[in-house]
C-alpha cells in the first residue's frame, strides 16, 4: 500500500480512442449483458494485475467513483446506490484513468467522511486525502467512459465497436509470434 492514489469521476470530452477499443474488445456484439464486473475483468487482462470492484456508499457531494492503485491490485469503488448505467460509467471512468496512466496532481480532503464496505481503516484514511487530476485528464476519462457506456448500451446494430484496437491486435500478434513483450 506504499503507492495509493484516489480519483473521482468528472465531466469531459473523448480523447482516448484506442483505450476504448481495447476495453470493448472481446465482448459480444450485443453488449447488453456487459456490466462493471466485465469491464473490470477486461481491464485486469489489459493491465496484467487484478482489478477489484468494491461497492461503496456515497454521501452527498462525494464522487460517484474512486480508484486506488496498489502494487498488488487496482481497486475501483463505485456507489452501489447509483443507477446501473451510472455505475457502469463510473467504473469505465476510473478504469480509463488507470489505463491511461494518469497521475494525480494534488491531494485534497473529501467533503465529508465516507463509509466504504470492504476497505480497511487504513485504506479509508487514505481515501480522505484523495488525488485530483487536471481538467484534461478528467475530460478524457469522462468522455471515454460515456463512449464505453454508449457502446455497451446502444442498439446491437451499431458497427465497429467490437473490433479490437491496435493495442489488442499487437498483443494477439505478440502471443502468436512468440514476442516476449509489447510496449507502446
Amino acid at each position: 500500500m506504499s503507492r495509493l492514489h484516489l480519483w473521482r469521476s468528472g465531466r469531459g470530452l473523448p480523447g482516448v480512442g484506442h483505450i476504448i477499443d481495447d476495453l470493448l474488445a472481446g465482448f459480444d456484439r450485443t453488449g447488453v449483458n456487459v456490466g462493471p464486473e466485465d469491464l473490470a475483468a477486461r481491464a485486469a487482462y489489459l493491465l496484467g494485475v487484478p482489478v477489484e470492484l468494491v461497492a461503496g456508499h456515497r454521501p452527498p457531494g462525494a464522487p460517484c467513483g474512486l480508484s486506488l492503485i496498489t502494487k498488488l491490485a487496482v481497486v475501483v469503488i463505485v456507489d452501489n446506490a447509483a443507477s446501473e448505467l451510472l455505475q457502469l460509467t463510473a467504473t469505465a471512468h476510473e478504469l480509463i484513468h488507470v489505463l491511461r496512466h494518469h497521475e494525480p496532481i494534488r491531494l485534497t480532503k473529501l467533503p465529508e467522511p465516507m463509509s466504504i464496505a470492504g476497505l480497511t481503516a487504513q485504506q479509508v484514511t487514505y481515501i480522505y486525502a484523495r488525488g485530483v487530476y487536471d481538467s484534461v485528464e478528467e475530460r478524457e476519462a469522462e468522455g471515454g467512459a460515456r463512449a464505453v457506456a454508449a457502446a455497451l448500451r446502444a442498439p446491437a446494430s451499431r458497427p465497429g465497436w467490437t473490433r479490437p484496437g491496435e493495442g489488442e491486435m499487437l498483443q494477439r500478434a505478440a502471443g502468436v509470434l512468440g514476442a516476449k513483450d509489447v510496449r507502446r
Binding site: 474488445a25 472481446g26 465482448f27 459480444d28 456484439r29 467490437t162 473490433r163 479490437p164 491496435e166 493495442g167 491486435m169 499487437l170 494477439r172 500478434a173 505478440a174 502471443g175 502468436v176 509470434l177 512468440g178 514476442a179 516476449k180 513483450d181 509489447v182 510496449r183 507502446r184
Partner: protein, 409 residues
C-alpha cells in the same frame, strides 16, 4: 537459377517450421490460434520445395502427368496465404467474427483449388517445363483461366496482409515485433507484385514483349516473398535472443578489458575482491558474463573509494595537461586521467586501503540504473585500457611527488 533461389527459400521455410514446432513444444506461443502460422509455414515450405526443378521433375515422372507440380504448388501456395489470413483474422476480429472470416476464406480457397484442378485437367497437355512453364504457357486456353482464378484467390489476401502488417508495425510493439511486421508487409507487397507479373504472363501474347524476358524478375519477387514470411513472422521470437547474445559478447569484452584493474585490486587491496565467483573460469564466465564484468567494475569503484583521499591529492591538472598533449580528448582523456590518478596512488607500497562506504545514490527512475551501470562499465574499461598502458602511465605521472598530506594517510 531456380535451383539456388527456391532451394534457399525452401531451407529457410523448413527451418521456420522446425522453429515453430519447437516453440509449440516449449509452449512459447500464446494466443488464440498459433497453429495457423505453423501449418501455413509447412504449406509454404511444401509449395516452394516442389517448385525446385529437380523435385518438380521427380514429381512429374513419378505421377506420369506432365507439369502436375503446377496445380500442386499453386494449391499449397494459396492454402498458405489462407492460413496467413486465418491467423490475421484472429488478430483483427472477435472470436465469433474470426470464425466466420476463417470459414469464408477457406471456402473461397477450396473452391478456387477445385476450379483450378478442373481447368488443369481440361487443358491440353504441354511438354514438361520445370523452369519457365508459367511464362511460356500461361496464355494458352484453360491455363489462362486457371492462372486468373489462382491470382484472384491469391491477390485478395496479399493486399490485406500488406496493409494490416504495415499498419500494426506503425502502431507500436517492441522493436523486433515491429521489424517482423514490416518484413511481413514486404511479403504482402511482393505478393501483389507477383500477381501483376503473372497477370502480365497471361496477356503477354497481346503485346510484343515476351514474358520470358522478365521471368527472372518474377522469380526474384517470389523468392523475396517466400523469404520474408518465415523470417518476418519468426523474428519476434528469436530477435530478442540476438540482443541478449550481443549484450553477453559486450560484457565478455568488457570483462577481458577490465583485467588490469582487477589485477590492481588483487595486488593492492585483496580484501576488496568480491568473491571467487567474480573471477570464474570457462563455463562460469560464459553463463553470466555481465554479472562478472559488473563485479570487476564494483571492485574498481571500491578501490577508488578506498583510495579516495590519496586520489583527491593527486596532481590531476598535470595528468590532464599531459593527456591532452598525447592527443586524448573527452571520455578517453577522463579515463586516462583516472588511470593516472590510480597509478599515482598505488605507485609505492601503501597500508591496506580502508574501505569507505560511499554516499547512497539518489533514487533512479526506470532505465536510469541500467544506463548508469553501462556508463560506469564503459568508463572503467577506458580507465583499464589506459592503466594497462605502462608507457602512458609513466609519462602522465613522471616527476610528480606526493604531498605531505598523502604521506600522512
Amino acid at each position: 537459377m531456380n535451383d539456388g533461389l527456391y532451394g534457399t527459400a525452401a531451407i529457410v521455410s523448413w527451418l521456420a517450421v522446425v522453429y515453430r514446432l519447437f516453440g509449440h513444444r516449449q509452449q512459447r506461443f500464446t494466443g488464440p490460434q498459433p497453429w495457423w502460422l505453423t501449418i501455413g509455414f509447412a504449406l509454404g515450405a511444401g509449395c516452394i520445395t516442389v517448385s525446385i526443378p529437380p523435385v518438380w521433375t521427380w514429381v512429374d515422372r513419378t505421377s506420369g502427368v506432365p507439369n502436375l507440380t503446377i496445380p500442386i504448388s499453386h494449391a499449397l501456395g494459396i492454402s498458405y496465404t489462407a492460413c496467413m489470413m486465418s491467423m490475421l483474422a484472429t488478430w483483427t476480429s472477435t472470436p465469433a467474427g474470426a470464425a466466420a472470416r476463417i470459414a469464408s476464406r477457406w471456402i473461397a480457397t477450396l473452391a478456387g483449388i477445385a476450379v483450378m484442378v478442373a481447368l488443369f485437367m481440361l487443358a491440353p497437355s504441354q511438354p514438361e517445363n520445370a523452369t519457365t512453364f508459367m511464362a511460356l504457357d500461361a496464355h494458352r486456353p484453360y491455363y489462362a483461366e486457371y492462372t486468373l482464378v489462382m491470382l484472384a484467390v491469391f491477390a485478395s489476401t496479399q493486399i490485406h496482409i500488406a496493409a494490416l502488417c504495415v499498419r500494426l508495425a506503425r502502431a507500436g510493439g517492441d522493436a523486433w515485433l515491429r521489424r517482423g511486421l514490416r518484413i511481413m508487409g514486404t511479403y504482402g507487397m511482393c505478393g501483389v507484385l507477383y500477381t501483376l507479373l503473372r497477370l502480365a504472363d497471361v496477356f503477354a501474347p497481346e503485346t510484343d514483349y515476351p514474358a520470358v524476358r522478365y521471368e527472372p524478375v518474377t522469380r526474384l519477387v517470389l523468392f523475396l516473398g517466400m523469404m520474408c514470411a518465415p523470417i518476418g513472422l519468426t523474428m519476434p521470437g528469436w530477435g530478442p535472443q540476438l540482443n541478449r547474445t550481443e549484450s553477453s559478447l559486450r560484457a565478455l569484452y568488457a570483462y577481458a578489458r577490465l583485467a588490469p584493474l582487477a589485477r590492481a585490486v588483487e595486488r593492492h587491496a585483496d580484501h576488496l575482491v568480491l568473491n571467487q565467483s567474480a573471477h570464474p573460469s570457462g563455463a562460469g564466465l560464459l553463463r553470466d558474463p555481465r554479472w562478472h564484468a559488473t563485479g570487476r567494475v564494483i571492485e574498481y569503484l571500491d578501490l577508488r573509494s578506498a583510495l579516495s583521499e590519496r586520489i583527491a591529492a593527486a596532481p590531476v591538472t598535470q595528468f590532464r595537461r599531459r593527456a591532452r598533449r598525447l592527443g586524448l580528448r573527452g571520455e578517453r582523456e577522463a579515463g586516462a586521467v583516472d588511470a593516472a590518478a590510480l597509478h599515482w596512488s598505488l605507485a609505492r607500497p601503501v597500508d591496506r586501503p580502508r574501505f569507505v562506504m560511499p554516499e547512497p545514490a539518489a533514487p533512479l527512475g526506470n532505465g536510469q540504473l541500467a544506463a548508469r551501470a553501462e556508463d560506469a562499465t564503459a568508463h572503467a574499461v577506458r580507465t583499464a585500457s589506459a592503466y594497462h598502458n605502462r608507457l602512458m602511465m609513466r609519462y602522465l605521472t613522471a616527476g610528480t611527488k606526493r604531498t605531505a598530506n598523502v604521506d600522512a594517510l
